[in-house]
């Protein structure tokens, strides 16, 4: 029978299917970080349980770490000012130590955002089931793997049993067909998808991204796209395996070699949806009409293209929609009808597990090269996704390009994506951000976030307001 990619991944990891619909799914890889793991380890302790299979786990600190290079140069966690953050980071170290879980610590050059580190190390491989106590775990689906974000109780469950207790989701495919215009990136595809189906559009579904525009994306781009599957309600996002996948994986530290590589290839090459496989929902988007996108509101679905204006309310909107719309506008300090390109920004953030890979750094550097940050932009942070991205960018001279343009070149971490560390938006400040959530307060209480691609964020840093990077010349 013709199977979808999700069906194949599900079937190859199904330990037990129960009559009531619940199932046990075997987990190949478990990624851990400091924020959602302490209570899980505590739970293991209380029940005197041990991790089922140590080799499945890898931990890395990322959410709370300082991204200030001077603070990072200080020994251990002494550069982390906030005592509660420091305790949480130390707790991860202690737990990993006690339970024997491999940890990439803060001093290690491979440290980075967990969803950047995993693929870099080959800890993420095609055909795997991957979980992490973080909703953006969907990122790893770019490799033709089944990657779920999970809660802390599930972290504990996976540690104790190596299984996820779950039920099969629906199959949802989005085909994005055609060639995108110059300057349109994976981020714009992601925002276009969310704008189209809404933030709950794929709730209860495993979302496969397909079509020529998706195949045309680099692995970095596919990760950006899958990363934001959760912003469309899907716990899981996926792309089928192809040559690009294999090329990316080959030679990674934890990738198989020799005979095992050949055996792996035989399996990985089957990781696509069969022709004629059944999808519960199957939609198509025309890639050729997608423009660079900017969110205007407090939900990723509140998004328009750079040439548009802040929308006015649909005349048929319900009372609840009207309230939501008005609240978003008030929070964002905007009026309906205002052109997006007239919105000035105070801050720029280029980073996060959505857009902090080398390709993102290059795209941003290309825009700011030889230019200067606008005077009204107070700060522009560039935060590479990992130590390896940082080193690569420095080898290419990107750090100097950013610094010469007046942007800050930081050390890796989640940073202002969720502002658990010191990098945050002050109340009322407006930020062009390459992260994934524009919720109220996400980047700091009262902060106003506009989600954009790295090139758009870089262009906003130069122009001082939103502008299509392709038209930057005319402005500056």
């Amino acid at each position: 029978m013709a199977k979808t990619l999700y069906d194949k991944l599900w079937d190859s990891h199904l330990v037990e299917q129960r009559e009531d619909g619940s199932a046990l799914l075997y987990i190949d890889r478990h990624l851990l970080h400091e924020v959602t793991s302490p209570q899980a380890f505590e739970g293991l302790d209380l029940a005197s349980r041990a991790p089922h299979r140590i080799s499945a786990n890898i931990a890395v600190p990322d959410h709370n770490v300082s991204t200030d290079p001077a603070e990072r140069a200080m020994p251990g966690y002494s550069g982390v000012d906030d005592a509660t953050s420091r305790l949480q980071l130390e707790t991860l170290d202690t737990n990993c130590d006690r339970f024997g879980i491999p940890l990439i610590d803060l001093a290690d050059n491979r440290q980075g955002i967990v969803h950047v580190m995993g693929p870099e190390q080959g800890a993420t491989l095609p055909g795997m089931t991957i979980v992490c106590g973080d909703s953006h775990t969907a990122t790893h689906g770019a490799f033709g793997s089944l990657a779920h974000g999970i809660g802390t109780s599930e972290v504990e469950h996976v540690l104790a049993t190596q299984c996820l207790l779950t039920r099969k989701m629906k199959n949802f495919r989005i085909r994005i067909e055609g060639e995108v215009a110059a300057g349109v990136t994976a981020k714009d595809l992601a925002l276009a998808v969310i704008g189209q189906i809404g933030t709950a559009g794929a709730t209860g579904c495993a979302l496969e991204f397909a079509g020529s525009a998706v195949r045309d994306l680099s692995m970095e781009g596919r990760m950006t796209l899958c990363n934001m599957a959760i912003e469309a309600g899907a716990r899981v996002g996926m792309v089928a395996v192809d040559e690009k996948t294999l090329e990316y994986v080959a030679g990674r530290p934890m990738a198989p070699t020799g005979d095992e590589w050949d055996r792996a290839l035989a399996f990985w090459n089957t990781l696509y949806s069969d022709p004629g496989a059944h999808f519960d929902v199957d939609i198509e988007l025309d890639a050729t009409v997608i423009k660079p996108h900017v969110t205007w509101g407090t939900s990723p679905e509140m998004v328009v293209s750079i040439n548009d204006s802040v929308p006015t309310l649909d005349a048929n909107a319900s009372e609840s929609q009207r309230k939501g719309y008005e609240r978003a506008l008030e929070y964002m300090g905007l009026r309906g009808g205002e052109p997006i390109s007239s919105i000035a920004v105070d801050m720029v953030f280029i980073g996060s597990c959505t857009n902090a890979r080398i390709e993102d750094m290059r795209a941003a550097a290309e825009v700011v090269k030889g230019r200067k940050k606008a005077a009204n932009v107070e700060r522009a942070l560039v935060v590479p996704g990992s130590g390896l991205v940082k080193r690569q960018a420095e080898e290419e001279g990107l750090d100097q390009i950013f610094i010469n343009a007046g942007l800050e070149w930081r050390s890796p971490g989640c940073s202002m994506c969720l502002a658990m560390n010191a990098d945050r938006l002050e109340p009322g400040k407006r930020c062009a951000s390459t992260s994934n959530r524009n919720f109220e307060g996400r980047q700091g209480a009262g902060g106003r976030t506009h989600l954009v691609s790295p090139a758009m964020a870089a262009a906003a840093a130069i122009a001082g307001h939103f502008v299509n990077p392709a038209q930057l010349e005319a402005v500056s």
């Binding site: 709370n64 800890a123 299984c163 709950a200 709730t203």
Partner: protein, 216 residues
């Protein structure tokens, strides 16, 4: 976990769609390494007039009188009524802990985000999906000044309200069974230990590269 069988409580209405977990419990409270103490910071950014200060965490803050959970008429409410896609965004289970520790036993909304829904069962917080029309009607009644109390019977999957309404709802059978019988997920899964080991051995034979020690 806490079992859930029946519950009767006052409903408090939060008239918002897409209530995200960042709103339920903002990130500055995720630094805790404990499972408790989140109740006072539930909906922190919209609940108080004065912003939270990490430097003075114990400082008295003025509750925002506009925020429903602060209003006298909803004092002691244990059932939260909200709009569609409740609990979207981050996977943080802290959102469930905060609701639970504030005293909320059930959230009623037209729809929930997947991870939140999953997480809520783990603490015995019951997420009940109700048709938008029913939810609308409750919002309306409450907005007009009438408080609504609901009695929830999980075993029968029935709910009655103080207006005389009677409704049925559906909960995932496995989750319902666990809540009714106070069963812990890990305990149940470990009953399948033999099956897991058997699967693991076959899986390792097929995909040996997945079982290598992490070479860090």
């Amino acid at each position: 976990m806490r079992p859930f069988t029946q519950h009767e409580g006052l409903m408090v209405s939060l008239d918002r769609a897409n209530v995200d977990t960042d709103l339920i419990i903002p990130k500055q409270f995720l630094k805790s390494i404990r499972r408790t103490g989140f109740g006072p910071n539930l909906f922190d950014e919209i609940r108080y007039l004065d912003p939270y200060s990490a430097a003075e965490p114990e400082k008295e803050r003025r509750p925002d009188p506009e925020f429903p959970l602060n209003q006298d008429r909803f004092k002691g409410a244990s059932v939260l009524l909200a709009r569609e896609n409740f609990g979207c965004g981050s996977s943080r289970e802290h959102a469930v802990w905060a609701l639970d520790q504030f005293g909320i036993r059930s959230v009623i909304a037209p729809s929930f985000a997947d991870i939140f829904k999953n997480n809520s069962f783990k603490s015995g917080l019951l997420p009940i999906e109700m048709p938008a029309s029913v939810v609308d009607a409750w919002f309306e009644t409450i907005a007009q000044g009438t408080n609504v109390t609901v009695a929830i019977d999980l075993k029968e999957e029935r709910l009655t309200d103080s207006e005389g309404g009677e409704f049925s709802f559906a909960i995932d059978p496995f989750r319902r069974h666990c809540l009714l019988n106070d069963l812990d997920d890990i305990g149940i899964t470990l009953q399948s230990s033999d099956r897991i080991s058997e699967f693991e051995a076959q899986h390792q034979a097929k995909f040996p590269w997945l079982f290598r020690e992490a070479s860090l």
